[in-house]
Symmetry: C2
Subunit: 505 residues, 2 copies
């Protein structure tokens, strides 16, 4: 066999193997979907066995001698033997493989055990509002994450290795300056909103809204956004989430009868994630080329639809009449401007997941700064509650009287997900920068949205982002599409314009 033929044969066998690995992961992702939606409670333990068996097989096959041989047979750089798409599959599989084999099995087990024990104590500590009960686990996680970072290797500081687990190819220094700029811009805006004497009425958002009618609106909006029900579905679960791939994307919503914006915006958020999955390149399904690029870019899609589109005046120009028709009593005396102001009301608050668009990123910046400082031993785990409360006071002018509304509010640190939080802010920043680029490419985008033509934006996102799979890193994709590196100013301008109008500041 000629060398070329041999390379081809090798690649073909490799990619078949990659596809099988993808199938195995899908079996497990699907079990998770069921666990959150339809599984009877009594089945939880037995499903855990299935998941654990399937994960074990996936890990064994991924780190096998067979995979090693395939990867060793490929060059370190694309020497022209592979198309860019094929090379993406090799590069990304190699990246994951190398990360997997760097972590010793003992550390994997320690992580898994710590996750289980720490989460259990976190629940207790949160219930009691007792940080002391949890702080030894935070210390433990700092120790584990440091060791993990050492095994993985990093460019400048240990945090690089952890961030890379969630936002590949992105360094701490790439985002540190951007988030600092964002913080400096947000501070005065938040203060201005606090000091504004604008009174925004929101009571009508919290009167009773029937669940089936809320679901009807969620589905109607998702359909208009371009969600394809022949390749996906919407269900209910305790916590909204999105899962799946191009041919089967499922998202969930939770309906609260006395909270209309919760279902509408969580629905649009998940639908934004879902459109990313449905926009992936089906030709490359079951390979990295058919997978999303990063958590940050994924979050940019959800936030773009939820916030930039979903909380815009123009979006409701089209949808408010049908919302009002669906809920004639509740919205009888509410005009579109009152509604638009209400869904954009801003107020510093303690709980991240309930924060508005303006204050949300302060919650993330606080966590990012603390994670990094913990890893760099600038602060110790046991003083973390104090640091938390001081930062809250500084950034938002409020601080919790109880750790359960402060440092203990999120599960992430109990599960050891250091490096995850920044992807939320990256999502916000990317969303504005990408939307800005879309506005330049698309004639009168606002006008299209105002007449309910969301397809034009969806197509742009599909062409420029979704269909690219993992071809480029998040940073490269941003530069390719927007002509610039990620920066804070697009998001800041967007907030200034919106809140300037609403609050007259």
């Amino acid at each position: 066999m000629s060398e070329t033929a041999n390379i081809r044969k090798n690649y073909n066998e490799f990619i078949e193997y990659v596809k099988e690995l993808s199938d195995i992961s899908r079996a497990n992702e699907f079990l998770e979907w069921d666990m959150e939606t339809y599984m009877p409670k009594g089945a939880a333990e037995s499903k855990g066995f299935v998941q654990s068996t399937i994960s074990g097989i996936a890990h064994e096959k991924f780190t096998s001698e067979r995979m090693k041989k395939y990867l060793e047979s490929f060059p370190t750089e694309n020497d022209g033997s592979f198309t860019p798409e094929e090379w993406t599959n090799i590069r990304e599989t190699r990246r994951e493989y190398e990360k997997s084999v760097k972590i010793p099995i003992d550390l994997v087990k320690e992580i898994s055990k710590t996750r289980s024990l720490a989460t259990s104590d976190w629940h207790k500590a949160k219930n009691e509002g007792n940080f002391k009960l949890f702080s030894p686990w935070l210390e433990k996680w700092v120790d584990i994450e440091e060791r993990e970072a050492e095994y993985l290797g990093y460019e400048n500081e240990p945090y690089d290795a952890l961030l890379d687990n969630f936002e590949p190819y992105t360094l701490t220094k790439d985002i540190e300056g951007v988030l600092r700029n964002l913080k400096n811009e947000l501070k005065p805006m938040i203060k201005a909103v606090i000091n504004s004497d604008m009174k925004i009425r929101t009571d009508f958002l919290y009167s009773p809204y029937k669940a089936d009618k809320q679901m009807f609106m969620v589905k109607k909006i998702a359909e208009k956004m371009g969600f394809d029900f022949t390749r996906g579905r919407i269900d209910m679960s305790e916590h909204p989430f999105t899962t799946g791939y191009v041919f089967d994307t499922r998202f969930t919503v939770k309906i609260r009868e006395n909270n209309l914006p919760f279902s509408i915006f969580a629905g649009m958020h998940e639908a934004g994630h879902a459109l990313y999955q449905q926009g992936l390149n089906e030709k490359w399904d079951r390979t990295p080329m058919g997978e999303p690029v990063s958590m940050g870019i994924h979050e940019s899609q959800s936030r773009l639809w939820e916030n930039i589109v979903g909380r815009s005046r123009e979006f409701w120009e089209y949808f408010y009449p049908s919302l009002r028709e669906t809920f004639p009593k509740q919205l009888k005396n509410v005009d579109i401007d009152e509604f638009h102001s209400a869904i954009n009301r801003s107020e510093p608050s303690l709980i991240r997941v309930e924060a508005d668009e303006l204050t949300y990123n302060m919650h993330i910046i606080l966590r990012f700064e603390m994670e990094r400082a913990l890893l760099n031993h600038e602060i110790e785990a046991k003083e973390a509650e104090e640091v938390w409360n001081e930062k809250m006071q500084e950034y938002m002018g409020i601080s919790p009287d109880n750790a359960s509304k402060g440092i203990l509010q999120d599960i992430h640190w109990a599960q050891g997900y250091f490096g995850y939080f920044p992807t939320y802010s990256l999502g916000n920043l990317y969303s504005s920068q990408l939307y800005n680029a879309a506005s330049k490419d698309i004639d009168d985008l606002k006008g299209s949205i105002g007449i309910g033509d969301l397809g034009v934006l969806r197509t742009w996102l599909k062409d420029n982002i979704h269909s690219k799979g993992k071809m480029f890193s998040a940073g490269e994709l941003c530069e390719n599409v927007t002509g610039e590196k990620l920066k804070a100013s697009y998001f800041v301008n967007y907030l200034q314009e919106k809140y300037g109008k609403i609050y007259g500041i």
Copy 2:
């Protein structure tokens, strides 16, 4: 290590491996459940890839060197090293393993390919009512099944090997006499019903019944039967089916708005299957000791609840008032006796799945006789339509004017499931013999059913059948529980008593 310790260690490793294999199968069974219930249509092909990958892994692991070594390390008979439950796990795993490795991979592939092509042509042939289009496939299947039987080995005739795939440890000669007796008894009864001048009104069963109210009744009855919703659920699908295991049993129903008995009795049928799954011994979950014994015994559970209980006068003494309350208009002028007669009306008909209790087994006996005659070369595939029509005429006094209502009605022969049909009749026969034993053990069983206390029967079935797993073969289980080998007379007596009353014959 002592020999005993070594045996223990080996068994423990073996059983862990068996449990992992069970987990893998569950992942796939669950995918199938989703495909029939909630999967968006566009996902079908991609789910096929997942299923095929998971099946491949299951097969590879089951027929591995590792499994071979475990099985070779165990004695051929239980020498006292193992409890009866442990020995069941060894015996049944060995049985499956030996069957798996006997069939060459080429034949496995040929079967799979033939199944796909023959099924496709069967659809076409059925649509056209053209048996000639399908008869070459029937011939092909006879050839394949003969070869399969040769590989598997058999006691007296090739059909033994095929029957054993669905009803383990049961020989053709064990059922041949029983089914012949049944046929001889059924013939005059069917004739008597045809000649009876009893007019039974059934029109009210087919007036419109709202879907959600039908579902309400199905759930109410299932709950009373003892179906545990914390370990199971009920959904809708095109064809009703049951799947799962002791901790997660799911069944489906199909609702036809103009056919009340369809949902009620298909619901009770599937709930009967489901109670078997939920009654399995949870201590032995993920091993053969926690699995059902055979198709025939499984079917006995569904038929017992659907027919013996569900079509009895006493059952409706309790449920008819609430059925009437649910559908006051439709059942306004129908008293319980009219209702009971209507749901038991008998009439020879061409389509097996629509047949009543009295005539149903004639459909099976016909198929059993033909399968066996084809395998023994007493008839040829190309004359099968003629033989079919003659037998229909002889057994039921009617014959189809079109193959789509005759020999082409069922998909089973297109898929090569020879040996499957008899398990339906075994189910009917076992159901009566088992119910008769329950009636002796339980004081006033009919009285209990009449006041809606179905738990006493459910407990008896669980204790005597469900919880036994695969400890005994179907035949042994029958003898243990009823004191006798399977025979036709219990079922015949049951039919004679019921139809004697209703038709006055």
